[in-house]
């Protein structure tokens, strides 16, 4: 396990994630004549409208009918086209789930299912539009690759890799602009986690945009004299088992951080791996088996326990437990 500092951006900046998705589609559409986009009446939210303007002949409005849309995608995939789906994570992961199971996942058809407005920050629209179980759903489906990029750079790198891959894939996309952590020449690899920060007292494992908050948590801990490593897991499936086990071996305590339910997502995936290979005391930071609500981003992160402070505190709790165990000889 080597720290991959060169992966990281040097200048701090923010970048729009959905804009990166729309622009990424346009660019890939220029490269691949067989890329098509199917939209569930949300193109101006997801930013698939950029593709509609650039490649109108390969943009298919499907209306507010997601079950049909995913089925149409399967049919197009059998004729050699690569359909990308434009709708919200909340709808793709649940409204069309049986369609995905039968005509996409089971026959392993090359459909790129993108879930926009994922997590709990879909702009004050509340629990119907938030998605806290999408990673759990797709990770549980045989054949489906499951990706949650940390920022706009990794998102576009993942999209490029997806066009060179033939597996059905779920790509999580967030709504708002967020800090860019990866350098522009970052190359995405399926199933590869990245150690973003070295540390010896504690390991934090993040996925999606929560990795950014995990890095901030490590800064907070450093100020408190604690050395925390940060591992970023962009693909929940395939999962980088070795990197997770190496981190546990090096630190002995693991905190997971995700903007998703702690049931079925990253926290579960890491717990499964560790309990099989290297049992390690851990804490899962994420939604504690609850749905969200509407509200401003900061208030939501605070109320549902997703801030860098919450991640850092989970680490402190583990360290206290370890110290207590030592003191009592357990």
């Amino acid at each position: 396990m080597s720290a991959t500092q060169t992966l990281l951006a040097t200048e701090p900046r923010n970048a729009g994630v959905r804009e990166a998705w729309g622009e990424g589609l346009v660019a890939l559409g220029n490269r691949y004549a067989n890329l098509v986009v199917l939209d569930g009446d949300l193109a101006n939210s997801t930013k698939a409208d950029l593709f509609a303007a650039a490649h109108p002949d390969r943009f298919f409005e499907m209306g507010i009918a997601e079950q049909n849309m995913l089925g149409v995608a399967a049919g197009l995939a059998t004729t050699g086209y690569v359909p990308w789906i434009s709708t919200f994570a909340a709808f793709v992961a649940k409204r069309a789930l049986d369609q995905i199971r039968v005509v996409i996942a089971q026959p392993s058809l090359n459909v790129k299912m993108c879930g926009a407005y994922s997590g709990i920050l879909p702009s004050k629209t509340g629990k119907t539009h938030q998605s806290v179980e999408d990673l759990a759903v797709f990770r549980a489906m045989p054949h489906v690759v499951t990706i949650a990029p940390a920022d706009a750079v990794e998102l576009q790198a993942a999209m490029a890799a997806m066009m060179e891959d033939v597996r059905p894939t779920y790509l999580r996309v967030t709504r708002d602009a967020s800090p860019v952590i990866f350098a522009d020449d970052y190359v995405f690899e399926f199933g590869k986690a990245h150690l973003l920060r070295r540390g010896s007292d504690l390991g934090i494992v993040g996925t999606g945009v929560q990795t950014v908050r995990a890095l901030e948590a490590a800064e907070l801990l450093e100020a408190e004299g604690i050395s925390a490593a940060v591992l970023h897991v962009p693909t929940l499936k395939p999962l980088d088992v070795d990197a997770i086990c190496d981190l546990a071996a090096a630190t002995g305590l693991i905190v997971t951080a995700e903007d998703h339910s702690i049931i079925g997502g990253l926290g579960s995936a890491v717990a499964e791996v560790l309990s099989e290979h290297i049992p390690t005391r851990m804490r899962r930071v994420g939604l504690q088996d609850t749905y969200g609500e509407s509200g401003p981003n900061d208030a939501l992160l605070e109320k549902y326990g997703l801030t860098p402070r919450h991640v850092a505190d989970a680490g402190l709790e583990l360290l206290a437990l370890k110290a207590g165990a030592k003191a009592t000889g357990k």
């Binding site: 009918a65 995913l70 089925g71 049919g75 059998t78 004729t79 086209y81 039968v102 026959p107």
Partner: protein, 288 residues
């Protein structure tokens, strides 16, 4: 006289009827042998499949992946044994392989599996899903400038599913004249809608043609057991250039076996030894 062209096409009505009877016999023998499987629906859809695969589809069993081939989706996937039988008679697999239906490691899964057997164009089995991939294939043909036609076979119980009407709306908006749906209108699903007496069944959906027409489809109503009418309807569907066509094929569940016809209890009951012998005798008697 039979008229086999070099691609295996059959246009002679008497020969098509013989193929239908052979298909029905193989369906019953296979389900009897497997000790499981559907009966009423496969017998109902047999003539439709025979006419499509022998008389209509531009396909080549030697080249099942040809991008320019016509596509056929059996959306009512529980009638898989009818499709496997017709594919076997058409040369996609040995007829003897039907004996592996539903067995472990078989290419003939209980419901059609796209990846298991060459010649299948879509996986089906969860009802209501087949029309949407048909739209995708029709759009794909349009994009690739290929003139293949896509056929989707639906059950009348199946079209109670909401997704069918999402698809009906979208196919019509894209004016997909290279897409035809065929409704196997036998008026019985699995358990059905008990009528007031509790002993008979009301049809699952009345006037499917009227409903598709309301969504902008071209509608053709025929006797789905009449090979003349089937061939004519398929020609008319392909000739129609202004949007998708639905062929409402009036059929009988359990068709061809007197004691199975119109009887919902034969939806998925394997015949025993005696019932199989009686059924085969009836099929052969009808041809004589």
């Amino acid at each position: 006289m039979t008229t086999h062209t070099q691609t295996g096409t059959v246009t002679d009505i008497a020969e098509l009827r013989r193929l239908s009877a052979r298909t029905r016999q193989l369906i019953l023998e296979t389900v009897h042998h497997a000790g499981a499987g559907h009966v009423g629906g496969p017998l109902s859809v047999a003539d439709i499949l025979v006419n499509l695969y022998f008389n209509r589809l531009r396909i080549d069993p030697e080249n099942p992946g040809d991008p320019a081939r016509d596509r056929c989706i059996l959306s009512k996937g529980h009638s898989s044994i009818a499709l496997y039988t017709v594919l076997a008679l058409r040369g996609y697999l040995p007829v003897e392989e039907l004996a592996t239906f539903d067995a472990i490691d078989s290419r003939l899964q209980g419901h059609p599996d796209l990846r298991a057997l060459p010649g299948l164009d879509m996986s089906t089995g969860s009802l209501g899903q087949g029309l949407s991939p048909g739209i995708g294939m029709a759009l794909g043909a349009r994009l690739a400038k290929l003139d293949f036609h896509t056929w989707v076979i639906l059950g009348d119980g199946e079209i109670q599913e909401g997704q069918i009407w999402e698809a009906a709306f979208v196919a019509s908006r894209y004016r997909l004249h290279n897409l035809t749906a065929i409704v196997d209108y036998n008026r019985l699903p699995q358990f059905g809608w008990p009528d007031a007496s509790g002993f008979t069944r009301d049809e699952p959906i009345d006037d499917p043609g009227g409903k598709f027409a309301a969504f902008g489809w071209n509608v053709i109503e025929i006797d789905g057991h009449d090979h003349d009418a089937l061939g004519g309807a398929f020609d008319a569907a392909v000739a129609h250039r202004d949007g998708p066509t639905v062929i409402v094929a009036h059929t009988i569940k359990g068709k061809g076996i007197s004691f199975m016809e119109h009887e919902y209890n034969w939806h998925a009951t394997p015949p025993d030894e005696q019932q199989l012998a009686d059924a085969v005798a009836e099929l052969q008697g009808a041809l004589a």
